[in-house]
Symmetry: none
Subunit: 240 residues, 2 copies
């Protein structure tokens, strides 16, 4: 008894520490703690199950990714009632980008909880974002959509995501294209090739021309926007 | 009075017809009918709003797409508790493919409700799938995640989607791998490297070997499936 007791105690206190940490992060007491343990099990450290499959957080990550996508889609839909679908999609992809999720994972301290090898921490840069998505998957399975939604919005977005800053950092394709052209020693011009009067104004048609060849075209009422669209198209064509 | 009355009546009866049709499709009475009207408004037929934006179903489609993704991710996660994330992702993309959604939209009769031009019906093949997603967006906004989930699973998946058939149409990774090997002039073999008797049968462990090097491994009770899993892994490793 005196031999067994310290071991039990250490297991219990480890579990208690984990429960404590999780509760701090998610803001409520989990029902099924095993789900949360799994969320932090990177495949490099996962044991092999009987059927050859490794029990890691990959399935939870797949699920959490979808739930996060839905919650953020809803949030942006309501926050920007007059913006079009293209803008909403672009904003969403910025919020859920691997890079951004990695940062969020650090901000809420998930890096302390992930079980993996040191080698992997160096090699695998998306480790933290993956665990963050897996945590969302675990919350969803444990408590349902509404609780997962509340966690994402109240705990994460409201505390750690500056949506206005993300909006204004809207990719600047024109400067990207110009930088590239300078580096590659190519000429780049934006040319107004047409104006179409409509009921409300004049639609401008602008070409992005690289070394004399048209690489993109944009139309908009604003010159700046039409150039952006043309530059975006050119970046796509040129694989920049 | 005698002039106004017939007009009012015709508007009312049109709305009543629409309400009736929607109720038949979704299985409950909508709270906010305007959302459902919008769901069937294709951009070609949408009026321009004051701020220049057209009020069409595109925003609802963006939202519905995300909700559908989450619901299907959850469904597959629970239906296939032992399958890996790659399989779940592949199955999900089959269920939510534009082609499949178009077919589902027809099956539940959405084609009768869409407002667009004849020209567009011919030109735009994803019209029906788009409206289907927009309908899911409308249900979600009107009644929340759980009702949208019930609609998708009980009304759509259970009645109109044969998941087993979709599964067996699983991409054939073995032939993909063999084709690649022929093109790249590499040898490819599948080798049985172990048999593990379990309570219910024998688990076969099969390796996919490319130019003498193991590139993937699969385990299953069926030789064919084990080979598929091994080939799938090899395709991943080799970036095919």
């Amino acid at each position: 008894m005196s031999l067994v007791f310290p071991i039990l105690k250490s297991v219990f206190s480890k579990d208690k520490d984990f429960l404590h940490a999780i509760r701090n992060i998610i803001g409520f007491t989990p029902r099924n703690l095993a789900l949360y343990h799994l969320a932090f099990k990177h495949k490099a450290s996962a044991e092999e199950a009987k059927n050859g499959a490794k029990k890691s957080n990959e399935r939870l990550e797949y699920l959490g990714d979808a739930i996060l996508g839905a919650v953020v889609a809803d949030l942006l839909f309501k926050r920007f009632p007059y913006r079009e679908e293209g803008f909403l999609t672009e904003m969403r992809s910025r919020i859920v980008s691997r890079d951004h999720l990695n940062k969020l994972a650090f901000k809420i301290g998930l890096n302390e909880l992930i079980q993996t090898t040191t080698e992997n921490i160096i090699k695998n840069k998306s480790l933290y974002g993956d665990a963050f998505e897996a945590l969302i998957g675990a919350i969803y399975l444990d408590k349902g959509y509404n609780v997962a939604q509340r966690f994402i919005i109240n705990r994460i977005i409201n505390n750690h995501v500056d949506i206005d800053a993300l909006e204004s950092s809207e990719s600047n394709f024109k400067s990207k294209l110009i930088e590239w052209a300078q580096k590659e020693k190519k000429s780049i011009t934006f040319e107004l090739v047409g104006e179409e009067p409509t009921g409300t104004g004049k639609l401008l048609r602008i070409k992005a021309v690289v070394n004399g060849v048209q690489m993109g075209e944009g139309m908009d009422y604003s010159k700046k926007k039409a150039e952006q669209i043309a530059a975006e198209q050119a970046c796509k064509t040129l694989n920049i």
